[in-house]
Symmetry: C2
Subunit: 224 residues, 2 copies
DNA sequence: CCAAAAGTGTTAGGAGTACACCCATGT
DNA sequence: ACATGGGTGTACTCCTAACACTTTTGG
């Protein structure tokens, strides 16, 4: 019985949602596309293993990483022997270039819209599907979209991030009002460079919100 | 490295939320209270292992069971050797008596309000805390409360279930309207026995809702 | 008839939605 | 001056929340 971690690393590139994939350098599935990941070392925590793999692949520390699901239903999902895989998903800002890890021949970003064109190793298509569902479900009530952006961003960039993930357009006025009234962002009194119009104000995420889960009260009003 | 499953089994007894605990029959933590669970067999899926343990403990099949979280951060959480535990939670109707499993000396229901009075083996207090958070978070947008009730129930019983889990009282009229308008229940044209007043109509859960996740659209309106 | 619990109706306030309008900058 | 994207304000609708009121049973 082996225990491994697999990573679904999301980022936004040119207004589209991307996932980090590798080309497998070893058997099985050599040459196939797959999620980055690897075995959990003895005397290593499972999240620690995920963070280690994440850093190997992207060089990033201290980014958003959350346990997704543990896959181990079919004892034969890995042809070699029984492998139970703990999947994590991560949200990163698109600044760092991916590096190929130990057993990966290559690492690259792929838009989720193009996932259907390729075949993935193991049950990694299922893992990605689960990650997308989680991301889509979580973004509507938890303030995590900013994790995909640089530390300072424009409200339009934040709006486009939501639109990309939700797959629908949002109203500008309502979105701006929402995000300000909830205090999710704080202005940094700087302007972005103009892109053909009035330059946008830059904002930073309001860290207070992360700790206090005051969105929960709003969230609960759904039924109660 | 060993892989095990732990179960947090909830039920409602006399308007209070209960968890199934066992008294450990073997070392380590012999005699301590703990969650039911056990090792995953070779050539067995992890959810299959959880369902096997659940049936050993309660005799129940085909009940609500959902993967909760995988705990394996601290390599020394089990003093014997490295154990990674996949926690599941289950919602059952209080009809079956718990049976003691293989390595359990005793099995019994304990109200969550009394959990603070006892000390649990391993990191099972952490697992229960996670399960309570999930249950509380999920009940407000997913139709799962009925899993804790018999197949036919009164609207007041359903309301009390929500109140028990949420820890606050709900408005009768608004709750009844909500649950009917959403089509979460269907009347079965029977009456419950009177308890000092007008007898209540019996309802059954509307299975259609379970499959179609139309509550999702309502859910998303939170931000979009 | 009265108490107790079931069940319905009414109304005020607030959140979500659509959309019109003004602002600042580059060309 | 005008095109382009940034940003604000307003009116309408629908849901939620609070609560009063009616109905059906047992004693």
């Amino acid at each position: 019985m082996r225990l491994s971690v697999d990573l679904v690393i999301f980022t936004i590139i040119k207004e589209s949602l991307n996932i980090l994939l590798i080309k497998r350098g070893g058997e099985p599935f050599k040459g196939s596309h797959a999620l980055p990941g690897g075995g959990v070392h003895e005397d290593e925590g499972i999240e620690a293993a995920a963070r280690r793999e994440l850093e190997e692949e992207t060089g990033l520390k201290n980014v958003f990483l959350e346990q997704l699901f543990t896959f181990g239903e079919d004892p034969k999902r890995d042809p070699r022997n029984r492998v139970v895989s703990i999947a994590y998903y991560s949200l990163v800002s698109h600044e760092t270039k991916p590096k190929a890890g130990d057993d990966a021949a290559d690492a690259f970003w792929l838009p989720v819209s193009e996932l259907s064109k390729i075949k993935l190793a193991f049950d990694h298509d299922q893992i990605i599907k689960t990650a997308l569902e989680r991301l889509l479900g979580k973004i509507v009530y938890a303030p995590i979209a900013h994790e995909l952006l640089p530390r300072e961003f424009t409200l339009t960039a934040l709006k486009k991030t939501y639109e990309t993930i939700l797959g629908k357009t949002l109203d500008k006025g309502n979105f701006f009002n929402y995000v300000k009234k909830r205090g999710l962002v704080v202005s940094v009194d700087k302007k972005a460079e103009s892109e053909g119009g009035r330059p946008a104000a830059l904002y930073r995420f309001n860290k207070r919100v992360k700790d206090i889960s005051d969105f929960m009260s709003h969230f609960r009003s759904a039924i109660c």
